[in-house]
Symmetry: C2
Subunit: 321 residues, 2 copies
């Protein structure tokens, strides 16, 4: 296991992912309370909101109020999501508290592109070309490539490593043509199709073709393989992961309502810390934030660790005995 | 990943594990219905009942009726659990339908031995010596060594690889002294303390010390790392796993009620099959059995795959499109 990283950087996406599919209206103050609780856990980045159309994602109609209301903590970067110039402008209004940068986002699946991005892959690349121009005009760097449905698709079926790499290549070519200095490539298992061998293959091909790029994994636990897929990523040296406290979230357009969403941050932290990989996160504080998220969302989240509890108290009791 | 086995043998423990901690009384006919449904999934072994004291485990007061009632299917081995001569005699009454063999069961944790086995480790070895004699006197082979709490303990804390190997060695010495030909060593993460590196270390030491033995893993998903730990086992070439449909079960004496129990069989099957490792199991039939188990137990089981659904239908739809 010589490729295991010494430390990983986790982006906590629980607020953005969890509230976008909340089945009950969540008060703005509760969203802020969860973000503030997460700020105290030691995670290095938190995605706090989505600047999207309230018609499309009603759960984020109060994105501006949420971003205005949380208490930034030194050492934590706060990010948000947007898909159009209006969203970018809303984010820029908070550039004192948000880390604002652009992404070139594409899907490896034509069918998912049509459903989730409302355009085919060619149309999405054209839209991204405009998007990049808008960011650069606003003085915002575009430094990230993000590929959705990189491991499979509920609407298209298998996505081969060549298709995933092809989607990255399209986005990298667009970046090169527009003078963007890309720093990381994010691969998303949007619908839970990945398995550990596939993660190794796709990550391996991406790393060997773009050795200067950091690779980031955005994994969903739709079918129970999420943490095993993260382990495969760790074995490939991947040191950046998205995750959501409690396993909140899931894509509203993925076609399996009720299925678990992102891998649970606390389970990823436990996996890493038990293997000696530093996360900087206090797993018990994160578990407490997960219980807060359950209270706010009014439902039991899928994380096993929220039920089983960490090893900390058991270890302390055993030492004291 | 060159050590991945080509195929694995899964022992389905959902009936035995799930019903021992059922919070509602489960009718005997429902237990039989679940066993019969599992028989049709392709699993090679099913642990159907526990011949234990009804006072200690009321959920198995009807073990004899359950074993008498299910419909054996050719090619499936049916096993049961017992801890004393009375239990062995109850099992032997069904030797036409049960695969009856003995195990030398010990715990790697002194504290867990006292709680779960009612004896310290030395006392358990003495009891196992008697137990072996009883089995041999009844003409029943003792061919398996089983170590509980092999990766950690809620009551004792860390279990080192040396302690786990020491527990195996104690049991193997007892086997040698009593003329038992042991065929497999089962390592149980009874309370969900394992992590992938620890699995690799313990399995590696056991394999190198007893190279002729098959190793079997009994993993719990208490803290969300169960499937990642199974992946670590697969990478070490381990080809035998216990699992429970839906992730039913959990040790009633482990000290964390409500936590997930065994790894979910259907998630283990998906992990293997997606990586090209044959299980012989129809994952969709198993998911259907999981939904039946939820109906019978009157609760949602922890398996993510029961919520997310398999990839089969999505693949078929994609091919047809």
């Amino acid at each position: 296991m010589s490729d295991l990283p010494r430390s990983v950087r986790i982006t906590e996406e629980g607020p953005r992912e969890g509230f976008q599919i909340a089945t009950v209206p969540v008060p703005t103050a509760d969203k802020i309370a969860l973000i503030d609780a997460l700020s105290a856990t030691g995670v290095s980045r938190i995605q706090v909101a989505s600047f999207v159309s309230p018609k499309r994602v009603p759960g984020w109609a109060d994105a501006d109020a949420v971003v205005a209301g949380f208490t930034p903590r030194a050492g934590v970067a706060y990010t948000a999501l947007w898909f159009n110039p209006q969203g970018l402008q809303r984010a820029l209004a908070f550039k004192d508290r948000l880390s604002v940068y652009g992404s070139i986002t594409v899907a490896a699946s034509e069918a998912f592109s049509l459903r989730n991005l409302n355009r085919d892959r060619a149309g999405q690349l054209a839209a991204m070309r405009e998007n990049v121009a808008e960011h650069l005009a606003a003085g915002v760097a575009v430094n990230r490539v993000s590929v959705q449905a990189a491991f499979g698709c509920n609407f298209q079926g298998e996505i081969t490593p060549a298709q995933a790499v092809g989607a990255v290549a399209d986005a990298m070519a667009l970046a090169a043509g527009t003078g963007c200095a890309i720093e990381r490539i994010s691969l998303a298992d949007t619908m839970g199709w990945a398995n550990p061998l596939l993660v190794e293959r796709v990550v391996g091909e991406v790393r060997s073709r773009w050795p200067g790029q950091a690779v980031s994994l955005h994994l969903h636990d739709t079918r129970g393989l999420g943490i095993a897929n993260a382990l495969a990523g760790l074995r490939m040296g991947v040191a950046e992961y998205d995750a959501a406290v409690g396993g909140a979230g899931g894509c509203p357009f993925a076609g399996h309502p009720g299925a678990p969403g992102n891998i649970a941050t606390e389970e990823l932290v436990l996996l890493c810390e038990e293997m000696g990989i530093a996360t900087g996160v206090d797993v018990d504080a994160l578990i407490a934030a997960g219980h807060l998220a359950e209270k706010i969302l009014g439902r039991t989240l899928p994380s096993a660790l929220l039920r089983g509890g960490s090893l900390t108290a058991f270890r302390a009791k055993a030492r004291a005995a």
